[in-house]
Each structure stands twice: as structure tokens, then as C-alpha cells.
């Protein structure tokens, strides 16, 4: 129900798997690589994840969403490794009897993925520099 993968994400297969005779709504969220971040021009990204913990915690998020929102189906995948602009970094697919739960559940899953999974993003900029996102304090060299 949740996986990290180095391969390009297969949207059609994920959407296909969400088809369910009980469902009246399918919602898909696709997070894609944009070419800018805080005013800087981004060339490409690299994602790194701790697979054992990320997959375990990711499955908990998806299972929790199925119960909480009464879903017919839910699945999510997150890409790791090198990604180019416009590629998909993450896809969440849910199906439910009605659209309200489907939208809410999809939003819930992507928000939890961002907050709870050990995944890190490194941006490579057009000026030749690179930086880990959201971890400005990570750099070495603490001095008083």
C-alpha cells in the first residue's frame, strides 16, 4: 500500500488499481518536480529515503486513512534517487463511495507523508550549487 521506488512512478497502473465497484469517486494527487524554489532556478532533485522505516510508517498512514475515511482503496508511492523537472515525486490514489471522503483522505495521506516519513530532498540549482531542503541547520561546522 506504500512503497519507495527508484523507478519512474506508473500513474496509469496506480489509477487502474483504484477502480472499485463500490466506489463513486477516485482522487489522485501527483506531486511533481518544479523548476523553482524560493526564487532560485532548480535544475533537478535528488530524494533519499530510509526505506525500511519509510515503508513501514507509510503503510501505517495509508491503513489509517482507509479506516478513518472508510475508503475502498488507497495506495501511495514515493520516488527516490535522481528526478528531472516535471517528473512525479509522489503519487497518492484513493477511492471511496463519495467525493468528500476521497478528497479529504487524499489530502490527509500526502500531508502525513510530508510530516512523518524519513525522506530528504536535495535541490540542484542552475548556478551549479545544491542544498538540502528544510535542513538549513544540517551543515557542518558549529562555532560559538
Amino acid at each position: 500500500m506504500f512503497h519507495l521506488t527508484k523507478d519512474p512512478l506508473a500513474l496509469a497502473a496506480l489509477r487502474q488499481a483504484a477502480s472499485h465497484s463500490h466506489a463513486g469517486a477516485v482522487v489522485v494527487f501527483e506531486g511533481t518536480v518544479r523548476n523553482h524554489h524560493e526564487g532560485r532556478e532548480v535544475l533537478r532533485l535528488e530524494y533519499e529515503g530510509h526505506a525500511p522505516v519509510a515503508e513501514k510508517e507509510g503503510r501505517r498512514i495509508v491503513e489509517d486513512a482507509v479506516k478513518r475515511f472508510g475508503l475502498d482503496h488507497a495506495q501511495a508511492m514515493h520516488r527516490v534517487g535522481r528526478l528531472e523537472i516535471e517528473e512525479s515525486a509522489v503519487i497518492v490514489v484513493v477511492s471511496a463511495p463519495h467525493r468528500a471522503e476521497a478528497f479529504d483522505a487524499c489530502r490527509f495521506i500526502i500531508d502525513e507523508i510530508k510530516h512523518r516519513l524519513p525522506i530528504w530532498k536535495k535541490e540542484f540549482y542552475t548556478d551549479g550549487t545544491s542544498a538540502w531542503v528544510g535542513c538549513e541547520g544540517c551543515r557542518q561546522g558549529h562555532q560559538h
Binding site: 533519499e48 525500511p52 522505516v53 525522506i119 536535495k122 528544510g134 557542518q140 561546522g141
Partner: protein
């Protein structure tokens, strides 16, 4: 002829990260860190004073030295002590050192060099001189006041600029301190169960891998909890992130920092997440 040696127990800190006055904590036995520290200092010096903040109005049984400046850190306590007796040397001891014993102070005193400004131990974590279990000779008083007038608050920085007699610690963990509830849990477990050497596989994840220069390492540690291990690694690798910013997984499950470590555990260190 060396100057007489007085003791100064630093108890004027804000204990911000602990959230409660560190000096009042009981880590082992029935004495608070303040009473335990004073007891040890009294045994090895001619007299011991309790260093308190400028605005501290609480009554104390022991004699106190009040800071002359507000919120200026541990150096302000020493400045006030030198004002009380500029002809004495001061053995300064932080109150949050539950592993520090009388025999370690006796060792410091036995190897004291009054020709230097300070006699101090070096950190087991990064090898730098430690300012808060240290003998300050009368010659340290003038540079101390100058440093404080120049807004220098960091005791380690001050120490780096004076003449030092540096000693290695006779007991490796004697200066492990307690800043947070997690450090307190580490100290309590280590003191009650005793420290044992464990082999741990550490994974430095995401940005930490670059800072550490390696993705994983097998290390020997005496730490009892994940928090103790992080403190060791943080100092050894000069990580600028504090424990609050990091999450830890042990054997592939998220755990609180107070989680005890076992031999052969696999510890993954997670800097702030940025998935999605």
C-alpha cells in the same frame, strides 16, 4: 606559592532546556545536584560558595555569590567570585555534572599548575578545554572582566584565549552534563545500571550523511540511551543540529530519545524530513 583555592558551584543558570531548575534535581541518592555539588566542593577546597543569578531572591543555607551582571552566563558567576576574593584561585564546577566525583576534583587539584591562568580537563567528545570543572587562578580575573565587557558569554571561547594547563580526564564520563530531560534520563540510567560498552550500527541519513562523511558506522559506546549516543556523535562530528531537530529509529522503529540502547542495536538518525 599557590593561591588558596575556593570552590564555586554554578547554579545561576536558566535551565531553559530542562524546563525546571537543574540545581534542584535529584539524579542519584537523595541529594539535589546543588547539595551534592556543594558537598563535594567543601571536601576539596577551603570553602565553597554557591553562585546564583543576579535576580535570584530565594533563601539558601549555604553562602552565596550573586552575579553582578544579568543573564551573562557562567563567566558572570566567576567574575562575582573574583570580586569577593581576587587573591584566591576558584575551582568552578557546574551543578549539572552528576558523574563528577570528589576523586576527579582531587586529581585536578593535584595536577594544578598555578603558573597558568587555568588548570582544566579536555572534553572526551571533542578534545577542547572544558571550562566548568576548572581551576581559575587570580591571573584569570583581568582577562575575564575584559571578555565580559566585550560581550563574550561563551566560557569555552574565553578559555581558548588564556594560558591553560590541560589535563585528560581520569574518568572518561566525569563531565557528561544534563541540559535536557533526555540527558537526565541518560544520567539516571547510567548511574543506576552502570555503563556498559555496546557495539552500535549508526546510520547517518540524508543531509547528516554529508556532515558525517559516511552513511553508516559501527561504533563502540558507553551511552545508555539514544540521547547519550546522539550527544557523543553531535560533538564528535560537529553537527550543528540539536536533539530537538532530529528523530531516531532503533532497529527500524521510531523511538523516543530516552529509549535504552542494547548491544548490536541499529540506530538511524533522521534530520528534518522533506518528502512529498
Amino acid at each position: 606559592m599557590s593561591a588558596p583555592l575556593h570552590g564555586l558551584l554554578l547554579a545561576g543558570g536558566k535551565s531553559r532546556r530542562m524546563g525546571t531548575d537543574k540545581a534542584e534535581l535529584v539524579v542519584e541518592g537523595n541529594l539535589s545536584l546543588r547539595d551534592r555539588g556543594l558537598q563535594i566542593l567543601r571536601r576539596v577546597t577551603t570553602s565553597a560558595q554557591l553562585s546564583i543569578a543576579a535576580d535570584d531572591t530565594r533563601p539558601y543555607e549555604s553562602t552565596t555569590v550573586r552575579d553582578l551582571r544579568e543573564d551573562a552566563g557562567p563567566l558572570a558567576g566567576l567574575e562575582a567570585a573574583f570580586q569577593l576574593d581576587p587573591n584566591a584561585a576558584w575551582l568552578v564546577m557546574a551543578c549539572d555534572l552528576p558523574f563528577l566525583t570528589e576523586s576527579v576534583l582531587e586529581d585536578l587539584i593535584a595536577r594544578r599548575d598555578p603558573a597558568c591562568d587555568v588548570t582544566c580537563f579536555t572534553s572526551r567528545f571533542d578534545g577542547k578545554p572544558e571550562p566548568l570543572c576548572t581551576i581559575y587562578e587570580p591571573s584569570a580575573a583581568a582577562p575575564l572582566t575584559a571578555a565580559l565587557d566585550n560581550e563574550i558569554r561563551c566560557a569555552r571561547k574565553f578559555l581558548s584565549a588564556v594560558r591553560r594547563h590541560e589535563l585528560s580526564l581520569p574518568e572518561e564520563t566525569a563531565l557528561d552534563n544534563c541540559n535536557r530531560p533526555e540527558d537526565l534520563a541518560e544520567a539516571r540510567l547510567s548511574l543506576s545500571e552502570g555503563r556498559t560498552t555496546k557495539t552500535i550500527t549508526v546510520e547517518f541519513c540524508g543531509p547528516l550523511q554529508e556532515a558525517a562523511g559516511t552513511a553508516s558506522a559501527e561504533i563502540e559506546t558507553q551511552s545508555s540511551t539514544a540521547a547519550g549516543l546522539w550527544e557523543e556523535l553531535r560533538m564528535a562530528h560537529h553537527f550543528s543540529l540539536e536533539l530537538e531537530a532530529i528523530r531516531v529509529a532503533i532497529n527500524e522503529e521510531f523511538q523516543p530519545w530516552t529509549h535504552p540502547l542494547a548491544h548490536r542495536d541499529r540506530v538511524a538518525l533522521f534530520p528534518p524530513f522533506a518528502g512529498g
